[in-house]
């Protein structure tokens, strides 16, 4: 029996990958499509799912990092690290957790700036697909608004006719 089979209560990295991806996907669907007025619906993608994914990360990364030949010091070291399926899973779950957390942060701030959900959707999809690209897209938009504008807009300056 291989290490990967007994790894984490008999669930293989492949299966963990599926579970993690589906969980993250659920968070993204909530962020992109569901209303923001219900508090619970914003707590799930902002905290609950990233928290759960981070626990999975801890489980897979901490158990493999110290026994691997590789390290974070060079691209070669990284390649060696990611040769093991467990660490590859950890790396992917890291993306999923952080991207979703950032996505939820973007959604919250975009709501405060009264950015239409139609425009939020591509920013969030971009964050989902290419994390930092979506972040830069939102930060660049936000940069243009002066700090005083942002603050006053927090206190519902926008009139919805």
């Amino acid at each position: 029996m291989q290490l990967s089979d007994i790894y984490a209560t008999g669930i293989s990295p492949d299966q963990w990958f599926m579970y993690a991806s589906q969980l993250a996907m659920l968070g993204w669907l909530i962020l992109i499509f569901l209303p923001r007025k219900i508090k619970l619906l914003s707590v799930i993608p902002q905290y609950v799912i990233p928290f759960a994914l981070s626990l999975l990360y801890a489980g897979s990364a901490l158990t493999t990092y110290f026994t691997s030949e590789g390290g974070y010091d060079s691209l070669m070291g990284l390649r060696t690290l990611f040769e093991s399926d467990q660490f590859l899973l950890a790396g992917w779950v890291h993306y999923l957790a952080f991207d979703l957390f950032i996505g939820a942060w973007i959604a919250r701030n975009a709501d405060r700036l009264s950015i239409s959900r139609l425009l939020q959707a591509p920013i969030l999809i971009m964050t989902f697909m290419f994390g930092p690209v979506g972040l830069v897209l939102f930060l660049a938009m936000r940069m243009v608004l002066s700090p005083s504008t942002k603050e006053s807009e927090n206190q519902k300056g926008v009139t919805h006719a």
Partner: protein, 281 residues
């Protein structure tokens, strides 16, 4: 309290010559403009890292140029829509066509960028069924993008609140938006019907070697994009001329009408020159 708050917010935009209201349609257009500016920011690194060329220029040149012009388009719409009463601006007609235009903008820029990343053409591409379908949809999107400016122009003409006080801005906006939208549709429509923006001996000009710097317009054959560019930017130039006339107390109506005549003539002249297959210079 609330009143002083809203005036405080409007004052934030004084730096851009006009003050803007905070209704959701203004906000939608202004944020669309910001979105497109931000899009340029994420395309620039790709432009510098990527060495692939498409028809002689970087694969990313097209989405960058379109992002910039979409940003300008929606910023113009947001500013000029301020001439309408808030009730009309957020009314059914403008609301419907604003959302359709923003949706079209997103569709166009995202599809164009994906095609750039794949190193394939987005316009005039009938190579696969998918690309043909998307090209047709881009035509629909493009039409919706000038429909909103046309409607806004007509609405300002009928209902502007600054008709009496700011004649320059009023005439500039109406003529600029209406003629700009119509002439853009004519130029773009012609290009799509012939499946090229070039007219003439295009076989020897495939890589567009001899072209105008930055804009990439052909200097060997007729290029419809020149007229497209001038026509589309009538929407900015004419209102700006009008606004300057109001500001400096010049005879606004006369100046705007004369400059409209000159600028529309130039854009028609470049259209005809291109149709004859001749380069501009």
């Amino acid at each position: 309290m609330l009143k002083s708050m809203t005036s405080f917010i409007s004052n934030q935009y004084a730096a851009v010559l006009f003050t803007m209201d905070q209704d959701h349609i203004t906000r939608l257009m202004w944020m669309s403009s910001l979105f497109m500016m931000a899009f340029v920011v994420i395309l620039m690194p790709a432009y510098y890292f990527d060495t692939r060329l498409l028809e002689g220029s970087s694969v990313w040149a097209k989405p960058i140029k379109f992002s910039l012009s979409f940003a300008m388009h929606f910023f113009t719409l947001a500013l000029l829509a301020q001439q309408l009463e808030i009730k009309l601006r957020t009314g059914f007609l403008l609301k419907l066509f604003s959302y359709l235009a923003v949706g079209s903008m997103l569709f166009e820029i995202i599809y164009m960028s994906i095609q750039s990343g794949r190193g394939r053409r987005s316009h005039y591409n009938l190579e696969t069924t998918y690309e043909m379908l998307m090209y047709i949809l881009m035509g629909v999107g493009g039409t919706l993008l000038v429909t909103i400016s046309f409607i806004l122009g007509v609405m300002i003409w009928k209902h502007s609140k600054s008709k009496g006080s700011n004649q320059g801005l009023f005439f500039g906006s109406v003529i600029g938006l209406v003629s700009g939208s119509v002439l853009t549709l004519v130029a773009a429509g012609y290009m799509s019907s012939t499946m090229s923006h070039l007219v003439g001996d295009t076989v020897n000009n495939v890589n567009n070697v001899n072209s105008v710097p930055l804009m990439g317009w052909s200097r060997s054959v007729g290029d419809m994009r020149i007229s497209h560019f001038l026509s589309t930017h009538l929407m900015q130039i004419l209102p700006l001329i009008g606004w300057l006339c109001d500001h400096y107390r010049l005879p606004a109506k006369r100046v705007v009408l004369i400059s409209s005549f000159i600028l529309i003539s130039i854009s028609l002249w470049t259209l005809i020159t291109a149709l004859l297959g001749k380069p501009l210079y």
